[in-house]
Symmetry: C2
Subunit: 333 residues, 2 copies
């Protein structure tokens, strides 16, 4: 059921099998599997994750390519609730290991906040990442195009970029190397630093050899209309015409709530085994937070794997269910 | 485009990037990704694979739980064709390694068959498995219930079996052990051997201790109506009432066409790395044919992984695309 400030008190004494932090593709897939394994779970979701912003899914089997990410999330939440999952809008502040169980502290409501603590045997970290966007004076100008034809994922959207004049908006010199993968799809690449960092002579030379212009001025604004970006206006008022763009400025990893635990990381990614188990045996990570491809299909499979591993753990430690009425006269094992 | 006997000649001289053997969830997901990576692929499909028979998907994120498997396949094929994939109905008889490329021999049409050979740099084995069903005199009686409430997958359908009187239809003594996982969902288990094999004293004792009756007579027919099985009639005319059933008789692996290649197997499963690459660097396996969970979500992610690994291979060996008009006066690297 949906938990709110009004009814969450009912669940404070409940020990969930699993608390899932994050209601994106990985978290919802895990919830569906867990409930179908007859385990109890609570999804805690701050809302508006990466897939919420996807205007068209394009590469997820079974849904028409123009399906928006938020449709997938809506369907998945409905599905989870029908199966008996609990769901709470809130921000997870801390996961504390209490030995047998985890205590999960949540901030609920931006105003008159409550800070309930829920408990579970297992936690699935499914809180994902969010792409860093160019910071312009008018952020609405960025939001108008990001997720439309100003892309953030080369694997997802290279196809749409093919043979277009593409602005590559890099956050660091290292991120400029994205150009040399992007050029599988298009050679018409202009690299923008937005005045954020210096570019080495070596990189300048490499860009020159490929014919990719480098623009180092700060960006004034994106140009375009109806969510279709068609160029960039620079600080000096000059304009660069573009057909599309790719932002390569890194991501923010939603993993602050895990910092009190002793976990193995690879950069900002959690290291897991093939069933998405982290170095903590009762903590799993799915989707973008763990190593691997940041794709909806991968997150959905991760949810399947984590839920299945948890079910196996819990099932194997449970007493087998016998058919009692047939046991009359049978010696106990 | 759709290839048929009439037009397949057009593609006999074409070297595909990838030929995908099997048009189920794994193969179609791979096709969508490959086409979006701007690679060319041909899906060869005999039709009526495991997911075609699923009456309700139930656990795949994004689709309502009552969506039949064939809907997923229909949508995926449409999606692949829109992206420019080729598709052929046919039965792959052999994959031969020609050094640089694979030659894939196909039987097209059950009557007046043609035997074209297509070529590709890579092959994805996505041909899956099919569950072995009880062999009764009247097979239509089995088909009436299999995939409805006579299930073949415990992970998929345990939820529907919960607390029901369930017949477990085992193919070997080893398969009777499924009862001790199935009992997570229900204790009301009756085990049927259909007269196929002997049961050891040890197993009889274990079943007795759990209260699970063992029925060793051959099955005459399943009873029920409107695809809802409600019991079994045995050879001697006696009846056993049931609410549902689970078949555990193993599977047939569609892997005959790979037998000429030197591949690493684990039982009937292909061994792969984390990107679904087999021990042959240009042959990938996705879905049920490889080790792991036999779930739609896993097959879909496998397709993503295999396609991405192949794209990386091909991209890295290709010449980088330069923006030629910007290269005037720039020394070649």
């Amino acid at each position: 059921m949906k938990l709110t400030k009004q009814n969450l008190e009912q669940r404070l004494d409940h020990l969930y099998d699993v608390i899932i932090v994050g209601g994106g593709a990985g978290g919802l897939s895990a919830a569906i599997y867990l409930q179908r394994y007859r385990l109890s779970c609570l999804i805690i979701e701050k809302g508006k994750g990466r897939s919420f912003w996807m205007q068209e899914l394009r590469n997820y089997l079974g849904l028409p390519p123009e399906t928006p990410g938020r449709e997938l999330l809506k369907q998945g939440l409905e599905h989870s609730l029908e199966l008996g999952a609990d769901h709470l809008r809130g921000f997870v502040e801390e996961v504390r290991d209490e030995g047998e169980n985890f205590a999960v502290k949540v901030k609920v409501g931006k105003q008159d906040s409550q800070y309930p603590v829920f408990r579970a045997k297992y936690v699935i970290a499914a809180s994902g990442i969010i792409d860093t966007l160019p910071q312009l004076a008018n952020m609405q100008n960025v939001f108008d195009y990001a997720g439309y034809n100003l892309h953030v994922c080369l694997i997802c959207d290279g196809y749409e970029i093919a043979d277009q004049r593409c602005g590559l908006f890099a956050g660091t010199e290292g991120a400029i190397n994205t150009a040399f993968v992007l050029n599988w799809f298009t050679p018409y690449i202009t690299v923008f630093t937005n005045g954020l960092f210096e570019v080495s002579g070596e990189m300048r030379q490499k860009l020159r050899e490929h014919g990719y212009p480098l623009v180092e001025q700060p960006i004034q604004q994106f140009l375009g209309q109806n969510h279709q970006m068609n160029g960039v206006e620079l600080a000096d008022g000059s304009k660069v015409e573009l057909d599309t763009g790719l932002i390569a400025m890194g991501s923010h990893y939603h993993n602050e709530y895990l910092q009190g635990l002793d976990l193995e990381w690879k950069g900002s990614n959690l290291v897991t085994d093939s069933m998405c188990r982290t170095s903590h045996p009762r903590l799993f990570a799915v989707g973008d937070l763990k190593e691997g491809l940041n794709q909806v299909s991968i997150a959905v499979a991760d949810g399947t794997l984590a839920a299945t591993a948890i079910w196996r753990d819990i099932r194997r430690s449970a007493a087998p269910r016998r058919w009692e009425q047939n046991l009359i006269g049978v010696a106990a094992p």
